[in-house]
Subunit: 233 residues, 2 copies
DNA sequence: CGCGTCCTTGAACCGCGTCAAGCCAGGTGG
DNA sequence: CCACCTGGCTTGACGCGGTTCAAGGACGCG
C-alpha cells in the first residue's frame, strides 16, 4: 500500500498528466486533485450516475462494466495504473457504465472544470487524451467483432489474453487474478460454460487454473486459437 | 450532387473544423484539405492499410466495418455528414477497419501532419475531437453489452433504431436505406435470420419492408422491444 | 465441525446458424 | 417480346452449440 503522493513525486511515468502537461500545470493538478484509496471490490463509479470528472489510476486495477437486463453484467474494459476512468461526461450526463476496483487501488480524481482548464492550457495533454480514447475505441470495435463472431472457447481465450495484456504489460508474470464470474462477464458468456472451457484449456496444458486466478502456461498455444481473428491477409 | 467547396462556404455547421477552429485555421485547413467524391459502394478506407489522416464527411453516408474470419463482416458504426472516419493512426499503424460509402458522398481528407498542427493551435478543436471519440466509445461499449446479451430480434430492432438515429437525425424521415446484408452485418446476425425477423416485425405492423430499405412505422413499439436494455433502474 | 460461497460437471432444452430450395425483379440477348 | 439468367430476398428443415438448471464437490471461515 502506497501513501497518497503529489503528481511531482508520482512514479507513474505513463500518466497523461506527467507525460503531457507542462510543469506549471502538473503542480496545479497536483494541488487540485483528490486521491482516494479503494479497497478491492469497492465501487469507484456507479452506473447511471453523473460523472463529475476524470479518474486517473495511480496504482491498482479496475473493471469497467455495464449491467444489462436481469442483472447480467458485461465487463467492457479492464484498467491498470496510468489508465483513465470516466469518459468525459460534461453537463453531468448519465450513462450506464460502472467501475469497481479488482485490487486495492489509489485513484486520483480531477473534476470537470479543472480538467477543462488544463485541456485549454495544454494542447498536448488534450491530444494525448484524444489518442487514448481513439485507441480504446479501436479496441472496443475489435471486441464488437469478436463477440459477434467467436465461439465460446475463442471468447474465453481472447478475454484471458486481453486481461494478460492489460494487467501484465510491464511485469513478466502471466497470472490473471479474476474470479470466475468476472472472467465470464469479460468473455461475454456464463460462468458454467467458462468453467468447462477452463477445464479444457487446462487439459491442453495451456493454462494453470486456480481459484480466483489463471496462469497462461503456453502463450503461443493460446494465441493460436484466436489468431485467425487477428491475422491480416 | 454538390460541388467541392471550401470550408468557408461549407454549410455543415456541425463539422468540427468550423465549430472549433479559429478563422485563421479554418482557412488553412480549407487550403490544405482534399475533397473527394465517392460513389455509393466505393471504398473510402481499406482494411489493414495505414491511415494517413482524418476524413471529415461533408455529405453522404458510410459504414465502418471489420472483416473477420471466413470473410464474415461486422459493421461497427454508421456515419453521416459531420462525422469523422479514420481513428487517429499516427506512425502509419495498421488496423482492420474499413469504410465504404453507402450513398454518394463528398469527403474531406486532412493528412496527419497538417491535422496535428491544427490540434496544437486550436485546443478547442482537439477537445471537440476528444469528446467525439469519447462519445463513440460509450456507444461502442453499449453495443458490446447489447451484442452479448440481446437475442436476435432485439439485435435487429436495436440496429434499425441505431441506423435511424444516425441517418435520420435531422430529417423527419424514418426510412433506412441499407440492403439486407448490411443490416444483418450491423445487427451481428446472418441474412437468413434477419429476413425472418423483418417479416415478423412487418406482421406486427412495426415496419414497412422493401428491397434495400425499411421504414419504421411504430417507433414506440420498436423502442419497447429494446427498452429493458436501456432503462436505468 | 458445520455452514456458506465459489466452482465444476452433468443432463436437457432450444435458439440460432447453416444449408438448400424456391421466389421475385431486373437485365440481357436471341 | 419473351425466355433465360442472375442476384438478392424469403422460408423451411435440421443439427449443433450454448444456455439453463440442478446436484455435487472443494475450500475457507466462524
Amino acid at each position: 500500500m502506497r501513501k497518497v503522493i503529489s503528481c511531482i513525486d508520482c512514479e507513474v511515468s505513463e500518466c497523461m498528466v506527467k507525460k503531457f502537461c507542462n510543469s506549471e500545470w502538473v503542480e496545479k493538478i497536483s494541488e487540485g486533485k483528490q486521491t482516494v484509496f479503494y479497497k478491492s471490490g469497492q465501487h469507484i463509479v456507479y452506473e447511471n450516475n453523473p460523472v463529475m470528472g476524470l479518474y486517473f489510476i495511480q496504482s491498482g486495477k479496475a473493471k469497467i462494466f455495464s449491467t444489462g437486463i436481469y442483472g447480467k453484467t458485461q465487463v467492457v474494459r479492464l484498467t491498470k495504473a496510468s489508465d483513465i476512468i470516466g469518459h468525459r461526461g460534461f453537463g453531468g450526463e448519465l450513462y450506464p457504465i460502472g467501475a469497481v476496483a479488482v485490487e486495492n487501488s489509489y485513484i486520483c480524481f480531477v473534476d470537470n472544470d479543472f480538467i477543462y482548464k488544463a485541456f485549454m492550457a495544454n494542447p498536448k495533454f488534450t491530444f494525448g487524451l484524444m489518442m487514448y480514447y481513439s485507441k480504446e475505441l479501436r479496441n472496443s470495435e475489435a471486441k464488437i467483432k469478436n463477440l459477434a463472431q467467436m465461439n465460446v472457447k475463442e471468447k474465453v481465450v481472447d478475454a484471458i489474453l486481453y486481461a494478460d495484456s492489460v494487467f501484465n504489460e510491464d511485469n513478466n508474470s502471466k497470472v490473471i487474478t479474476l474470479n470466475r464470474k468476472d472472467l465470464a462477464d469479460l468473455s461475454g458468456i456464463n460462468a458454467a460454460q467458462l468453467s468447462r472451457i477452463l477445464s479444457e484449456l487446462k487439459s491442453e496444458n495451456l493454462l494453470r487454473v486456480e481459484i480466483n486466478e489463471v496462469e497462461i502456461l503456453n502463450s503461443e498455444g493460446m494465441q493460436a486459437i484466436v489468431d485467425p481473428f487477428y491475422k491480416t491477409y
